[in-house]
Assembly symmetry: D3
Homo-oligomer: 138 residues x 6
């Protein structure tokens, strides 16, 4: 029964450098488009990541998913990969792809979607700053 | 494809005075209904506004919408209009309409809906206090 | 018209002790499954509860529901019941049921659903810690 | 022994309207000095108040002061006085005195200082917004 | 030179059950004094601990103290000791001592003071809830 | 009279990239000392800066210092200098100096101390993350 579906959320953080730059545009167009976010020497953020997993409660454990298991999944696949890294230089995902909050959220979704059992629905919320954040899928 | 839809959020603040008072009721009924919120001399709040915009990622920029553009849209149409104002006295919208959080959120939605391209979905979250907030549409 | 639907949210807190323990498992299985959360002497949390009520704005009051009424409903039926209690020992709901965040949220939903007029939709968000929280229904 | 001194803190909130206006200046000077904060129709804030009390631990209770007692002292003398009020119009303290955060903090200090036993040291922190706050005495 | 002194802060959390009960009073006096906090079956909190260390900057590292070292000191001596524990039953410190926030802060201070080099000053802030917290020494 | 002294606080943010690296040590010593914070490609943070100014209340304005003046002072001298910058590469202050939170706070103090009238006392709080922050002078 659908009304049995419940969502659990796990919050994690990582701190990374990045630079907004699109290979579809010239240097000067990038400068106009992204302004100070285009700084060639990079800037950085404390990213806050919230992973939402929707499923049914296991009647025996009372869990949708063990939060320690979910926390470790995030740490092994996301935090260790992105924390204290330069997203443009140190990660294969953003060699070509512009590391906007939107694209980072989609990349995180794609990585976790493969690791998470298919019976679970998944949603990613990513805060770039306290004032700017994204959610995927909407 | 719908799974491409992603949401971006922008948080802004404004500080305003208001008084809850409904023209459908007598003075004494208003007093009973709204209690201390009916104070004829007004009281006030630090409102926190979160604007959610849902759309597709532009493959070239990596943005749903440029947050600077969205931030300016909110500042020009909402913050400058309501910040450091008395909602009942200084704004045309609440001359007749009771400035409850629900009505303020709907007014903000209506203003921004007209300014935002129709390809985007829009949702407004408005915190009146840390403990009381509303979301429109639900 | 559905677009008239608006959500209001009310945040409350309660502080309680609990122990995760499932009657479906042996003592040693419980120890493996729930680790330090299985401590027979209990541990505790500051739970943050957010109650979301969806309905139409009453054109005369400008309210979906009076927040004082909703706040009192939560205090009388939830906060007074669970605050400064041992969930496993002091409440009938968790005599058998494992007091995971998921199950606590469902219990709170069931209690409030009966007290709230059927015209309103209801959703419960429960924070066990700042990093772990649940939402029911999803 | 001085090293026995410990501080306890209690946080409360109140929501009020105010207008910055100084009787030392002309209307136009007030407008220049206080800008939009001088709006004659008032604006408002959610004030967050933190009361710090320094004293010795009572060896029998383990308390410096009972937080319920301190909380009630604040509610009876501050919150009920200022919450949902217009500071300029509804309170005797700000009939002449400009209700800046500095002056509000000093007024709260003066009120509570008289109510609190002299053996306790007192400090007031008052947030006007998340970004602007004051502390008295420094 | 004293003006070279700088403070560093490290925040950690632990979740514990406790019961306020003083051996200086009878059962009924305890009930009157501590009210619902005296519940014999315990209740609990998410405690937030902030450790402040004051010292001089090491000119070679640019650190007062390595935050990883400080974080591990807190984890090994405080978090592992108190997290997911019943303070009254599971810890030797509160067998006799009433686990008020004041006493917990002083116990944490005493433990860390012994582990921290004497050249550093130490201060403990402990949040029992978002609204109630203590600082030692004052 | 000293009891007239009151403190005002202004919070601002900036987002920057940095790398911990000390010229007093070899490459391998730096790697051991600073671990992942030594990443040669940089990482980054959302820094939160709180500027505390202590002075007397101007009896005519009710201000210690105009928060708009203080806010602009911070923006012109700190935020514009450091926001969306690589601290090691883009700023003269950290060409040689290791950009630890301690050193950044001292640099900000030195810059603002020169700009602020000598009658005011100044203190800087700098959050590198929600869990790690520093205060200068202590």
């Amino acid at each position: 029964m659908d009304s049995q579906k419940i969502a659990v959320f796990r919050k994690e953080n990582f701190n990374a450098a990045h630079r907004l730059h699109s290979s579809y545009y010239s240097e000067s167009e990038n400068q106009v488009l992204f302004g100070k976010c285009n700084n060639p020497n990079y800037h950085g953020h404390n990213y806050t990541l919230i992973v939402k997993v929707v499923g049914c409660i296991d009647i025996k454990t009372g869990y949708v998913i063990d939060m320690k298991v979910l926390g470790n999944l995030i740490k092994e696949n996301i935090t260790e990969k992105f924390d204290h890294k330069n997203l443009n230089l140190d990660t294969s995902e953003f060699k070509e792809l512009n590391p906007t909050a939107e694209n980072i959220a989609m990349v995180i979704y794609t990585i976790l979607r493969e690791k998470l059992e298919t019976k679970f629905e998944l949603k990613i919320t990513l805060y770039e700053t306290e004032r700017n954040y994204v959610e995927y899928p909407a």
